[in-house]
């Protein structure tokens, strides 16, 4: 198999990438060809096998034992699947090696294009390319993407804009369906189009398939353009929640089209069915979510399988909802949303990382496969091209989207605090992309004379939205200067003020007397804290307030960053703020006296530091899954102890020579083991005097045994700048290497 050579500069990786692409295409075609003609092959190979077998039987001693044999049949299926997935991933790899293209064209377009190519090659050799099987799509390819989206759904913007999102999802989609269906019926009445066979109900069915905004496409395109959170969540939320509407309308119109009649009772039942489908789906998701959260409470002894619980419960939620024809997508989202806060409080850090990466990985693979298959299916499928039908479909899709968004926004803005501007409306309208769900639904239609016509139109609309809108949205966003996603720097001040603001707004609402958004959120939080958390979260973490979890997480992250990225000799450059008590009794002049250290001392210090650091690093790495070393981050019990210890004592200690140095909060305790005496010095003393040989600073934001020290010589490793707040002394460490000063 082609192996990508290690990346050298410029064209070599590109060339290898291209070669590999071509290789793979031909290879896959060869196998696809092989299986398509499998009938003949199987028989012949079977015959050959039988022959040799017979021969071996009858003439055991004559025919030699087959050293090398070829038997493809029994690995055929997994082999093909793996090959397709590998092909898809190599494509993805290829695009990112060729940078210029990936800047202009979004990945989804490139993947569809590759799919077209592969499909074309397969067809050119006379075999039938595989089509995107609806079962495959709905059961295997779609759930990972939705779970990934649902699990990491940003809850706060979602709930703040839930009214808007629901309006767009429900009313917007309904408007689209009826507008497109109606207008297409009107078009079909034109004699010139020769579309007389398409009746109103079929048109409405077609409308219901084509109207829904597709989450896969939206995600694929919007992820790359990084627009602000509000717009992202509105379009994305809409694409998720319109699933219920789509499901109901699709089944409803399918029934009607089948019966060729639309009844009043049918319509009423349809409306009821909508509520059942959406609320039922959510309920199924919630139930599985709670069970999943409850299960995670007991997993402290079997950390390895924790991620599996999350995946399996969510997948079961999806499948269970599909059994009852409820909205599987909503169920999956509800499960992920409900499960996440409790599960995250219970599972280990490693499991959290695992879940995150597996979800991203699966959704990435799914997404790639979907687009490639779309391309292949386009080449494969039977097409009935009718210029008028297809053209008008595209036009009306755009038109209905624009009109719908404008109309709805005018209505919604009356109720919104932060109104949607014209720019926002444009992006929302332009971001209404269609995708693979529409194709799969179309594929599920019963075979009648209109199916090919519809499929062709659907594919054209999908191509149009993904290619044209997908490619142009990025330059448009820049042209219109739409607000981009602001980089979230985790600042503890912002977190404090976030919480403060929440309570403040709740309080003001209470004073005002009306029960608004904040009031209910506060009530929900309190309910959550007093009742739900106690059941679903193990141990003491159930009572931990959010600010403290945030703070601890921040510390942990910085600690791990530090330990994983540096050795003693070249410690990474960060701002390490240290908080130590200022001894106010000493009101001395503060010269920035930094003690000088002799060379040999320096070596000793380095050695000790390195040993300490390595000890920490060793603890973070664990090899066998059967004996995971109990690390402070993982084991719940020791973590609580660990935290207590940190909060209380905050000490760093080690021995060097005959002295033991313990850094307590702001003080250095030096115990001389030989003489058994203890000297206590404060930071000020250290800064003042030259007697202390070295100082170990433990950063407040990093509570592991990371040690840095000050020294000054010609090639200054770092300088210290002293920050003094009344009652508090901090040290800001600035890295200075030779002539360059990097201040972080």
């Amino acid at each position: 198999m082609a192996v990508l050579s290690p990346a050298r500069r410029s064209s070599a990786p590109r060339l290898t990438g291209l070669l590999c692409l071509l290789f793979l295409i031909f290879f896959s075609h060869a196998f696809a060809g092989r299986d398509a003609a499998s009938g003949k092959d199987r028989n012949s190979s079977g015959a050959i096998r039988e022959d040799s077998h017979n021969q071996t039987n009858s003439t055991a001693h004559k025919k030699a034992f087959p050293v090398l044999s070829f038997e493809y049949e029994h690995v055929k299926r997994p082999f093909e699947i793996s090959l397709w997935i590998l092909l898809a991933l190599l494509m993805k790899l290829g695009f990112h090696i060729i940078p210029t293209v990936s800047h202009i064209v979004p990945e989804s377009c490139l993947l569809i294009f590759v799919g077209l190519l592969v499909g074309g090659i397969i067809k050119a050799t006379g075999e039938t390319p595989p089509v995107l099987d609806s079962k495959l799509f709905f059961l295997y390819l779609l759930p990972p993407i939705i779970l990934d989206a649902g699990y990491f759904l940003p809850i706060r913007p979602f709930t703040e804009n839930i009214g808007t999102i629901l309006m767009f999802a429900v009313v917007g989609t309904l408007w689209n369906v009826f507008f497109i269906g109606g207008m297409m019926y009107a078009v079909c009445q034109i004699d010139a189009a020769k579309l007389g066979g398409v009746d109103l109900l079929s048109c409405l069915l077609f409308g219901s398939i084509i109207s829904a905004v597709d989450p896969v496409s939206v995600l694929a395109v919007f992820e790359e353009i990084h627009i602000n959170e509000l717009l992202h969540i509105i379009v994305f939320g809409e694409s998720l929640l319109n699933d219920a509407v789509t499901v109901v309308l699709y089944h409803l119109f399918k029934e009607f089209a089948h019966d060729k009649a639309m009844t009043v009772t049918g319509t009423v039942l349809g409306v009821i069915s909508f509520f059942v489908v959406s609320l039922g789906g959510i309920m199924v998701g919630v139930i599985y979510g709670i069970v999943g959260a409850f299960t995670s409470r007991f997993t402290s002894h079997t950390r390895v399988i924790e991620p599996l619980f999350v995946f399996l419960y969510s997948y079961m939620a999806y499948l269970s909802a599909e059994v009852f024809h409820l909205s599987g997508i909503m169920s999956l989202i509800a499960c992920g949303v409900i499960m996440r806060p409790y599960v995250e409080a219970n599972i280990s850090h490693k499991s959290y990382t695992t879940i995150k990466y597996f979800l991203k990985m699966w959704s990435s693979v799914s997404d790639t496969l979907i687009f490639i298959f779309l391309g292949v299916s386009t080449v494969a499928g039977p097409h009935a091209w009718n210029w008028i039908f297809v053209l008008f479909t595209v036009v009306f899709c755009l038109l209905s989207r624009v009109l719908g968004v404008i109309g709805l926004t005018a209505f919604i803005n009356k109720f919104r605090i932060i109104k949607l501007t014209k720019k926002d409306q444009f992006i929302i309208a332009y971001g209404g992309l269609r995708g693979a769900i529409a194709f799969s639904l179309g594929f599920l239609l019963t075979e009648d004379e209109n199916k090919d016509l519809f499929l062709t139109a659907i594919i054209t609309v999908i191509f149009f939205t993904v290619f044209v809108q997908g490619m142009t949205i990025r330059p448009l966003v820049e042209l219109l200067a739409v607000k981009r996603k602001k980089e979230s720097k985790e600042s503890i001040n912002e977190e404090i003020h976030s919480q403060f603001l929440d309570h403040l707004l709740t309080g003001i609402e209470d004073v005002c007397g009306h029960y608004g958004h904040h009031h209910w959120k506060d009530k929900l939080n309190r309910f959550n804290k007093t009742y739900v958390k106690r059941w679903l979260i193990a141990g003491e973490r159930s009572t931990e307030p959010q600010l403290i979890s945030f703070y601890n997480k921040l510390e942990l992250k910085q600690a791990m960053m530090l330990v994983e990225s540096g050795s003693a000799a070249k410690l990474p450059a960060i701002v390490s703020s240290v908080s130590m008590q200022n001894s106010e009794t000493k009101g001395l002049t503060r010269r920035r006296a930094i003690p000088t250290i002799s060379k040999s001392r320096e070596e000793e210090i380095r050695r000790v530091l390195r040993a300490n650091l390595q000890k920490t690093r060793q603890r973070l790495r664990s090899y066998s899954r059967y004996d995971l070393v109990s690390e402070p981050y993982e084991d719940n019990m020791s973590e609580a102890l660990f935290r207590k210890q940190r909060a209380m004592e905050r000490r760093v200690s080690f021995n060097a020579g005959s002295k033991a140095y313990v850094l307590r909060f702001g003080q250095v305790h030096i115990s001389d083991l030989s003489t058994n005496s203890v000297t206590i010095l404060t930071l000020t003393d250290v800064l003042e005097s030259n007697d202390i040989e070295y100082l170990f600073i433990c950063s407040v934001l990093n509570k592991t045994w990371e040690n840095m020290f000050l020294k000054r010589n010609k090639n200054n490793m770092f300088l210290i700048s002293v920050l003094r707040v009344r009652d508090l002394t901090g040290l800001k460490v600035i890295w200075a290497k030779k002539n360059k000063q990097t201040d972080l």
């Binding site: 803005n413 605090i417 932060i418 109104k419 501007t421 602001k486 720097k489 600042s491 503890i492 001040n493 912002e494 404090i496 003020h497 919480q499 403060f500 603001l501 309570h503 403040l504 707004l505 709740t506 309080g507 003001i508 609402e509 209470d510 004073v511 005002c512 007397g513 958004h517 904040h518 009031h519 506060d522 309190r526 003491e540 009572t543 931990e544 307030p545 600010l547 403290i548 703070y551 701002v575 703020s577 240290v578 908080s579 002049t589 503060r590 010269r591 920035r592 909060a647 209380m648 407040v700 700048s721 002293v722 920050l723 003094r724 707040v725 009344r726 009652d727 508090l728 901090g730 800001k732």
Partner: protein
């Protein structure tokens, strides 16, 4: 417009709408609430606020109530506290939470941002000296975490310390050995919460 003739003190309301930007209907609603809270008296006192049942669960209750009686929130140069407030002051305090209107110029938006941040700043700066000292900030964090039950004071203190140092390192580039960072001034506070989008976050629906 007919409904307005039943509202007493219409001229006074015109004043208020001009000053605070509320509409007539909103001021009417607030008036009703004011009467309800004050049991039909003319002024509100602190014990009236203490009667509001829903506020009991709020960890920063005391600070919210104080904010209503703080002269600095009434107009630019106010100082000190009052014992009771009338309707006008009530509305002025509430106006800090109005949402920004759709069409605004940049400087109007900036002005509103400053106003809201000023309100927050006044809530933190309890001793009125124009800076938030470490003690005051510690107090803020302690109050925030006060309802969470089992909490060591150390943790609250260390969070406040870390936050304070973060402010110091953002606002102050380089300090001489003799210098002290006295406390967070209003400019530093503005800089600190620069990315916070407060004009849209600090709003409630009236």
């Amino acid at each position: 417009m007919g409904a307005l003739q039943s509202l007493p003190g219409q001229a006074e309301y015109c004043d208020l709408t001009a000053k605070t930007g509320f509409s007539f209907e909103q001021i009417g609603v607030l008036r009703k609430r004011f009467k309800q809270l004050s049991h039909n008296e003319e002024t509100l006192r602190r014990d009236h606020f203490n009667e509001i049942h829903d506020l009991t669960f709020n960890p920063i209750r005391a600070q919210i109530i104080e904010a209503f009686f703080d002269r600095r929130n009434f107009h630019e140069d106010g100082q000190g506290k009052v014992r009771e407030i009338g309707f006008e002051e009530f509305v002025v305090v509430m106006s800090h939470f109005r949402p920004p209107s759709l069409h605004m110029t940049e400087e109007q938006r900036e002005k509103i941002r400053k106003e809201k941040l000023r309100f927050l700043f006044n809530m933190h700066d309890t001793d009125n000296n124009g800076t938030i000292t470490l003690e005051e900030y510690r107090h803020v964090v302690e109050e925030l975490l006060s309802r969470s039950g089992t909490l060591e004071k150390e943790t609250a203190k260390s969070i406040a310390d870390a936050a304070m140092l973060e402010v110091a390192s953002i606002s102050v580039g380089h300090m001489e050995p003799d210098e002290f960072y006295e406390g967070i001034t209003f400019e530093h506070f503005l800089k600190l919460l620069n990315g916070f989008e407060i004009e849209s976050r600090m709003t409630i629906r009236f």
